[in-house]
Amino acid sequence: MSKAQNDKRLSTERVLVAAIRNKMDALANAQFFKNRSNSAKSRNRGEYQKLSSAEKRLVRRIKVQQLKTEIHLLLYANGFRPHIRDPQIPRATTEESLAIRFDFDGILHRPDSTLLSAPYANARQIYQEALNNGDTPLPPEYNPGDYRLDDSPVWRKLKLFDNFRQTRKKIINSLVHNRIPPEAVPAMNYYDFVDTLTDACKRTNTRPFEGSRSQNLKMFAHCYGEEFTQIMLSLRYKPDAVHQMLQQMHKGSSPNILDLHHKTNVTNFRELEHPEKINAFPNMLLTFIHPHHRSLHFDKGYDIDKDIVFFGGYDPAYQIRRNPEKERQYLISKGRLPKNAKTR
């Protein structure tokens, strides 16, 4: 694209971004209840000031609806369509939502003890009390081979995620360490697995795994860094700032103006052909927070082309489309795909 062409397209893009952004800001302000004051400005409001509180609320509600419609029209005019959820497909449960987030972030949040299953919680308590009280004999030791995690319906779902599958040995070792009887495994819930994994990681001072978020950012920086740089420079970001953004992404963290977006929402993960791939790179999109990411989540949410990997603007000139071959080569180089894996 020549400089003149870019200038023209950038000008149009900026007008559109400003329009959406201003509408969203206006939406926030339209609901704002302004208290009566005796200032000259409010005295000049005339008609509005004469309304009762209930009438003012109605006016604000109408204004809000009007602005929401205008935002919908702007997005629709630029090719975006609201996501239509299939009511036959159940949403993620609380435990599934938490598991997906854990897989994405790789951050341990030890669950409250009230959330643990009774067999697991009792066994833990017995062991802790025996440790604290030297007179009480310790519960029997078990061997790692005694545990069949696949007897747990929860584990059968968790192991579908690559990250969780890696933690199998850690979990078993932790169960052995805490002398949890193998017969407690079938009744273990999600919180039990997180609790035992937290123990394992705290004891060994290690992380459970690198979260998908970090992995995806690194993959984006590696595979699409050059195109990203070109687009950001076209958007008039300073080279130093763009370089710093890329450096952050190479380390697995995101710059403050950018967000990772799930193209299929986490809550609707069952809509995917392979729901366990909800946090996989093909479902990820890097974008600006305001207004781009907000517009994708506006109201009930909007769909976006599944092949876009960077949504830098509503104009396709500021978007990057996926290059599955590049991604495949990257995954092979990281040992996350066998060399003969096919392009997806």
Binding site: Q31, F33, R101, S253, D259, N265
Partner: protein, 142 residues
């Protein structure tokens, strides 16, 4: 709270807003109240005295009319969230998919899903809830 402040100060590449004073917090409380939102909890107000808004690695703590563009405003963000029970909740922060909210009915901090407002986690204390939304562990960055 001191431990949390220490952790937040240690986060690499974090952006922090300048602390607010009591008058600004009172104004914010007034605006929240006038617009039928729950008031700010004391612990979070205390955090605002250290940082008025916080942004790090895709996670945000809201501030009182923060200065920079990428910071998020408490009142504005609560307006845009369209929480089904705004008079019982005030949203204090967010990440890609969750809000950090204070539920004044339960007197607890909650992590709630942005799309359907399902409560995923509940915390009694502000520090643990803030660590959750910022995705940092209890003993990290000390």
């Amino acid at each position: 709270m001191q431990k949390l402040v220490k952790q937040l100060n240690a986060l690499p590449d974090a952006n922090t807003g300048k602390p607010v004073d009591a008058a600004q917090i009172i104004l914010c409380q007034k605006q929240l109240c006038e617009n039928d939102f729950a008031p700010l909890p004391e612990e979070y107000a205390a955090l605002l005295h250290h940082f008025n808004a916080f942004a790090w690695n895709g996670s945000f703590l809201y501030g009182v009319k923060p200065f920079k563009d990428f910071f998020l405003d408490l009142v504005g963000e609560n307006m845009l969230a369209f929480h089904p029970l705004p008079n019982l909740n005030v949203i204090l922060g967010c990440n890609e998919y969750d809000y950090l909210a204070w539920n004044c009915a339960d007197a607890s901090y909650q992590i709630i899903d942005k799309s359907d407002f399902m409560v995923l986690n509940t915390y009694a204390g502000c520090a643990d809830a803030v660590r959750h939304i910022l995705k940092i562990e209890d003993d990290e960055y000390l």
